[in-house]
Every structure is written in structure tokens, then in C-alpha cells.
């Protein structure tokens, strides 16, 4: 008869009921004076208490499934087990998200035409997100000094540019390569949707895979392929244009502040979703503590307070009046970010 068998539980229950009934029924018989009735009372009362206690204990055990056999209950069962160890995860899985062969081809730095400054190195690659299953086209821009021998151990901040909504940052790529302005001291990653497909943001309905894409796949792929640390202090995100890249940037710096510490928006702000819904940054800031992130609103047409509501420290929100310049916005991010070196 098992410790959780129905029969055992029923027997215990009946015993408890019988003991209670017997005690109440026989009560008057034991009301006399002298040692025998008193001993009878003690015996009957003890029997009731123990049977009820056992029944309650057995029922509780059955309900929660703590002990399912007598040997388990008394701790005398075999402690032997079979462990099948399937080993560790391959260490290069994060870097391998970037398709091989296209990641480490620095353009020649000697072919600068006179009159233009140092240029960034552009790498085109495809990211196949390990966790999100989302595929994206990446344009990675490395600062001119990235491959200089003296610079070989220097880490850079990373700036993600959300270009997955159409039309997005059309001219940024050519501006970065034109050499008219010195490129920012950061690894700039422009993210394109696969075949111009929109990649959801953390504030959208399919947020689960979006969190995995923006927060983890993209960051680990870049950090394991370039000299960029994973610390949030090293990561910023920029978006703009009439699509929704801007509110995705803001959502990342608010909702995933453990991974992105700065965001910049340029161009007219469009409110994502209805006001007072979880997609609205003001809703987020009303419900949760303000994160230690820095936000720049460049030429958004509205002051930050109109978009976010009251801005409480440690969150910082700044606005820059237009006209929005994508390169200037990138520079602001590059300056506000750190390279993520451990503080010692």
C-alpha cells in the first residue's frame, strides 16, 4: 500500500473520523473520577489527535506530491542517478551569426582622394539571429583608426541605427563614406530589414523575438566580431525619419536599459500607438523607475516632456532644434557613450 494510494488515504480518513466519533460518543463514560477514566480520556484524545494529524499530513503530501513512496519518505531510497552530460555550447556561436567571409575586409586606407578626410571602413554582412530567428542586413562602419596598428587594442562604443522602416536613413551610409565630416569614433551598425521587411521593436506586439533580436542577437554578434564591449554604457541606438525607427530607439533605451544606455531620434516624432498604452514611452515612465539612460530628440517638433511626460533622474532627455542632421546625431551618441571598459 503506497503512501499516496487512494486506499491508504481512505483508511486514514476513516480512522480519523472513527476516532472523533468514538470520543464524542464515549465521552460520558469517561467522565468519572479516578485514574482509570482519566487514563481513558488521555488515551482516547491522543488517538484522535494522532489519527487526524496523520490523515491531514497524508492528504497534504498527496496534494503537493512531496513523497511518493515509503522509502522516499524515510530517506532510505537509492540515491543513485544517471547523468547524461551533453557538453557545452560552442563558444563561437555569437560571432557566427554574422555570415562568414564578409566581416573582416577593411577597405584600403591609402586611396584617399585629396581634399577629403579619413574615411570609415564599411563592411556589409547579414545577421542571422540565433535567438530571434530574425535575419537582417547590416552595414557596419568602422572608424578610420580601427585597423591602425597603434589602435589595435582600443575598444569602441557601438551605435545601432534602425533602418528597418521604410523610408529610413537614406543618406547616412553615403554621408559616412563621403569623408566630408570626420566619422564618429564608434562602430556604427545600420540595420536593414531582410528584403526591406520590417523588424518589430520591443514596444510592438511581437516583442518577444524583438527583444531577443535588438537586445541579444545583434549585440552579441557585433561584440564577438569587433572590439566592442557588451556593457550598456557602450551601446546607443538611433532612429528617425517618418517611419517608426525613432520610437523603437527610445523604447530600447527605456525598456532595455540594461543593454542600451542612450538613444537619439531625429525628425518629426510620431506617437507609437494610442496614448496610455504600453507602447507609449510616457506610459512606461509612469509605471516604472526612470532608467539611467540619455535621450536626444533632434528636430522632433515637440519638446521631450510632451513625448515622455515628466523626466525624472537618472533619465536625461535633451532636445536639439532642427534641422536634423544624421551625422551630428551620431556624433552626439558617440560622445555620450563610453567604450564600456570596466571601471577600476
Amino acid at each position: 500500500m503506497g503512501v499516496t494510494s487512494k486506499l491508504f488515504l481512505v483508511i486514514l480518513g476513516l480512522l480519523a473520523l472513527a476516532a472523533c466519533g468514538l470520543t464524542i460518543w464515549r465521552w460520558p463514560r469517561l467522565a468519572g473520577r479516578g485514574p482509570r477514566p482519566v487514563a481513558g480520556r488521555i488515551g482516547l484524545l491522543l488517538t484522535t489527535q494522532i489519527t487526524v494529524l496523520l490523515a491531514v499530513a497524508a492528504l497534504t503530501n498527496d496534494l503537493f506530491g512531496f513523497y511518493t513512496s515509503w522509502s522516499d519518505l524515510f530517506g532510505v531510497g537509492s540515491q543513485r542517478y544517471q547523468l547524461k552530460d551533453s557538453g557545452v555550447v560552442r563558444p563561437d556561436v555569437n560571432a557566427a551569426q554574422l555570415q562568414a567571409g564578409k566581416t573582416a575586409t577593411p577597405a584600403s586606407q591609402t586611396s584617399q582622394s585629396p581634399g577629403s578626410g579619413p574615411k570609415a571602413t564599411e563592411v556589409n554582412t547579414t545577421l542571422v539571429g540565433l535567438r530571434s530567428g530574425i535575419t537582417a542586413g547590416l552595414e557596419v562602419f568602422l572608424p578610420p583608426e580601427y585597423y591602425a596598428p597603434a589602435d589595435g587594442r582600443r575598444y569602441y562604443p557601438a551605435i545601432v541605427v534602425d533602418d528597418t522602416s521604410d523610408p529610413g536613413v537614406a543618406t547616412l551610409s553615403s554621408d559616412l563614406m563621403s569623408g566630408k565630416q570626420p566619422p564618429p569614433q564608434a562602430v556604427v551598425v545600420i540595420v536593414h530589414g531582410d528584403h526591406h521587411r520590417h523588424i518589430p521593436c520591443v514596444s510592438e506586439p511581437d516583442a518577444a523575438s524583438a527583444e531577443q533580436f535588438w537586445g541579444q542577437d545583434l549585440r552579441t554578434a557585433v561584440a564577438d566580431s569587433y572590439r566592442v564591449r557588451l556593457s550598456p554604457a557602450a551601446w546607443g541606438v538611433m532612429g528617425g525619419g517618418p517611419g517608426n525607427g525613432g520610437d523603437c530607439a527610445i523604447a530600447l533605451a527605456l525598456e532595455d536599459a540594461g543593454r542600451y544606455s542612450a538613444a537619439a531620434v531625429f525628425g518629426r516624432w510620431q506617437h507609437p500607438g494610442p496614448p496610455d498604452s504600453p507602447a507609449d514611452p510616457a506610459w512606461w515612465l509612469r509605471n516604472y523607475p526612470a532608467p539611467p539612460s540619455r535621450l536626444l530628440f533632434a528636430a522632433t517638433g515637440e519638446p521631450p516632456q510632451a513625448i515622455l511626460g515628466p523626466v525624472r533622474p537618472p533619465l536625461q532627455a535633451m532636445s536639439a532644434p532642427g534641422p536634423a542632421d544624421e551625422l551630428q546625431t551620431l556624433d552626439w551618441l558617440a560622445q555620450t557613450l563610453q567604450n564600456g571598459a570596466p571601471q577600476s
Binding site: 470520543t23 464524542i24 465521552w27 460520558p28 469517561l30 467522565a31 482519566v38 480520556r41 484524545l45 484522535t48 489527535q49 487526524v52 494529524l53 503537493f64 506530491g65 512531496f66 513523497y67 511518493t68 513512496s69 522509502s71 522516499d72 530517506g75 531510497g77 540515491q79 543513485r80 542517478y81 544517471q82 547523468l83 547524461k84 552530460d85 551533453s86 557538453g87 557545452v88 555550447v89 560552442r90 563558444p91 540565433l130 535567438r131 530571434s132 530567428g133 506586439p205 518577444a208 531577443q212 537586445g215 541579444q216 557588451l230 536599459a257 540594461g258 543593454r259 504600453p278 506610459w283 509605471n287 516604472y288 523607475p289 526612470a290 532608467p291 539611467p292 525624472r312 533622474p313 570596466p342
Partner: protein, 378 residues
């Protein structure tokens, strides 16, 4: 009077004995015929029985450490769960987010010397991003205090109790720190830092380590981001996913596996002892998913492993052929996991959902975590 500890236990035991004696002494007064006497007898039996049950429950709670305070118990009984209020400015935490309340040592031979027995810190972790806070016990192994490890960034394991569960029992009942020391001395375990917590970071509530929908407490974010970054800022520990793991029993096992699956950029290994896989919701959890079936499904680990890419983590799942209800789901999870995830299993022939089982599995889990986590140099 504290819910745990001797005073309450002694009071209850004394009341139980007094009730018993009183019934025996005043027995004849209820011996008359009639409904009033009958009701009196039933009442007397009920009162003595309730006192006895209360004593036994308090003793069991003392031993197993289900609830640590009256507040936990009242929250569960009423279903009103109050989060520790986030500081209104969200900015009050200067520094690391960890307040050390006291330093302790282990009751093992030579334990008074940190370089031989390590150090047990009783701390409060305040989450910068979530505003939540929790009591934690952080164990630093002896090597942390030895000169030859001065530059080592130690691998770190977050250890979770089940629900309901009190964090101190991870030290006194499941003995994670003492077993780690044994494992290190036997050459089986690496020196690791243990961060021990209970899933009850909101008094009495079983959040299942979920970012609760609709503006609720972000428990998942607290465990995965707030705690890891606060520990990284305070102690000499690895800052890389390859050096961070999780282990827990029951609800703690579900939490360990879920947190690692959802945050594989921060954790690389999780050991789930008798963990379940489904997205639980009951009276002790309150509304976790805001009535959204999609969000609830995303917290169902069997659904995730079947329908979503498998994350780059190693997992150890423990179960037994008889005695545990998670045998079938565990085997299904192991079967459905795809590369790059690695699923190891520990299967016992029999053993239930109890401390005998977990006591037998903790050394194996520590050894498995040791071989799956890496230290780094500062």
C-alpha cells in the same frame, strides 16, 4: 513574534499541551446529554486539534523554511501582494545597488578564516532598473581570499529556492556553500561565487520570475539584469555570460531555466532540479500574464523549445522515473531542444518532489555548473 524561530514554537507547543490538559481536566462538564454538550465536545476536540496542527505546521515551516515572515503568510492568505515601493526618483541608489548587512562564516572546520572557509554576506540587492529589492546571501569561496586568485574574476551562480522558500535554507538545509567547499576540496568543483535568493522577491508572491504584464513588477528583469549587474559592480566576478549560471529547485528550477533561455547573452548554463516547464498561474502568483495568451505561451518553456529557436545555453534537467510529475515533460524538452542548446539530464529511478531528492542532487548540480562555467582574468 517572528514566524520562524523557537519563541513561537514554544508558545504553540505550550498552548497545545495546556489545551490537552484542560480538556482532560474539564471533561466531566461536557458529559451531559443534549445538543449543547455534544457541540461542546466537538468544539473541544476541534480546538485541541487546531492547536496541534498549528504547532506541527510551525515546526515544519521552521525546518523546511517555506515562509520567512508573517508578512509573506498574510500576503498569500489574502492574495494582496505589495511590491517594495520603487523609490519615487528611481535614483536613490548611489553605487553598486548592494548593501551588505553583515558578514558571516560557515560552521565548517577552519570556517572562521575566510581563506579556508570563505565568507557569507547577508545583503540587500536594490534593482536600479526595476525598483524591486530582495534579500540575498552571497557566498564567496575560500579562494576569493587567497593571494593566488587575486586577479581571478570568479564564475558566479544564482541559486534560487523553490516557492514558498526561505533563502537561509539554501545554506542550512540544502547546504550549497558547504557542499561547494567539499567539492572544491575534492577537486570536483571550481571555486564559484553563489548568489542565493528566494523567488519571493515580492512578499509572499510567486512571480515565477516573470516581467508581470500591465505595469506589474518586472521580476525577470530584476533577476537577470539588476542582480547580475549589481553583483558584477560589487564583487570580483566574471562579467561575461560564460561565467554566469543559475540553479534552483522546483519553482527555482523553472526560474533558472527560463531566465537563462530568455537572457542567453548573460547566462550560459542553468540547472533545473525538479523544475516544471509550464507557465503557472494560480492564487499564489496572481495575474501574471494580463490575460494575454501569447504572453503566457512565451513563458511556457515546452512551447518555446518546440516553436522558437533554441538559445545558446547548456541546461541540466533533473527528474526521476517514479515520484516526479516532470519526467515526461523533461524528456520531451530534451528531445525538442535544437542546436546550439545543450541539454544534459540527471535521471533517478525514484524520488519525489522533496528535500531528500534535492539534497542528493545539489553536489551533482554544482559539479555540472563547475564544468560549464569559466573564470576570467581581470
Amino acid at each position: 513574534m517572528s514566524l520562524t524561530g523557537l519563541p513561537l514554537l514554544i508558545l504553540l507547543a505550550a498552548l497545545t499541551v495546556a489545551g490537552f490538559v484542560a480538556v482532560v481536566r474539564f471533561w466531566p462538564r461536557l458529559a451531559a446529554q443534549g445538543p449543547r454538550s455534544l457541540a461542546g465536545r466537538a468544539g473541544a476536540l476541534a480546538v485541541t486539534q487546531v492547536l496541534l496542527l498549528a504547532t506541527v505546521l510551525a515546526a515544519a515551516n521552521n525546518y523546511f523554511g517555506f515562509y520567512g515572515s508573517w508578512r509573506d503568510l498574510v500576503s498569500v492568505a489574502t492574495g494582496h501582494y505589495a511590491a517594495s515601493a520603487p523609490s519615487p526618483l528611481g535614483a536613490a541608489q548611489n553605487g553598486s545597488g548592494i548593501t551588505i548587512n553583515s558578514h558571516g562564516t560557515l560552521p565548517i572546520p577552519g570556517g572562521a578564516d575566510p581563506a579556508r572557509g570563505g565568507r557569507l554576506d547577508d545583503v540587500t540587492v536594490r534593482g536600479q532598473l526595476t525598483g524591486l529589492s530582495a534579500h540575498a546571501l552571497i557566498y564567496l569561496p575560500p579562494q576569493y581570499f587567497q593571494a593566488s586568485y587575486r586577479k581571478t574574476l570568479f564564475p558566479t551562480v544564482i541559486v534560487s529556492s523553490g516557492y514558498p522558500g526561505d533563502v537561509t535554507k539554501l545554506v542550512t538545509l540544502l547546504r550549497y556553500p558547504a557542499r561547494l567547499v567539499d567539492g572544491i576540496n575534492a577537486g570536483q568543483d571550481k571555486p564559484m561565487v553563489l548568489v542565493m535568493m528566494s523567488p519571493m522577491i515580492i512578499s509572499g508572491r510567486d512571480t515565477e520570475c516573470t516581467d508581470v504584464a500591465g505595469g506589474g513588477p518586472r521580476a525577470g528583469e530584476f533577476w537577470s539584469v539588476d542582480v547580475t549587474s549589481a553583483v558584477e559592480r560589487t564583487y570580483r566576478v566574471s562579467q561575461d555570460a560564460s561565467g554566469w549560471g543559475l540553479v534552483g529547485d522546483s519553482t527555482g528550477g523553472y526560474c533558472a531555466l527560463k531566465l537563462a533561455m530568455l537572457n542567453s547573452d548573460r547566462f550560459s548554463a542553468a540547472a533545473s532540479l525538479s523544475g516544471y516547464f509550464d507557465a503557472l498561474q494560480d492564487g499564489t502568483t496572481g495575474d501574471l500574464y494580463g490575460g494575454d495568451p501569447v504572453f503566457r505561451r512565451q513563458n511556457d518553456l515546452l512551447w518555446r523549445i518546440e516553436h522558437l529557436p533554441s538559445p545558446p545555453i547548456a541546461a541540466l534537467l533533473t527528474t526521476s522515473r517514479t515520484g516526479e510529475s516532470n519526467y515526461g515533460p523533461t524528456m520531451q524538452f530534451a528531445r525538442d531542444a535544437k542546436s546550439p542548446m545543450r541539454v544534459s539530464t540527471l535521471v533517478r529511478a525514484s524520488g519525489g518532489h522533496n528535500f531528500n531528492t534535492w539534497n542528493a542532487e545539489v553536489p551533482a548540480a554544482l559539479q555540472w555548473l563547475s564544468s560549464h562555467l569559466a573564470a576570467s582574468a581581470s
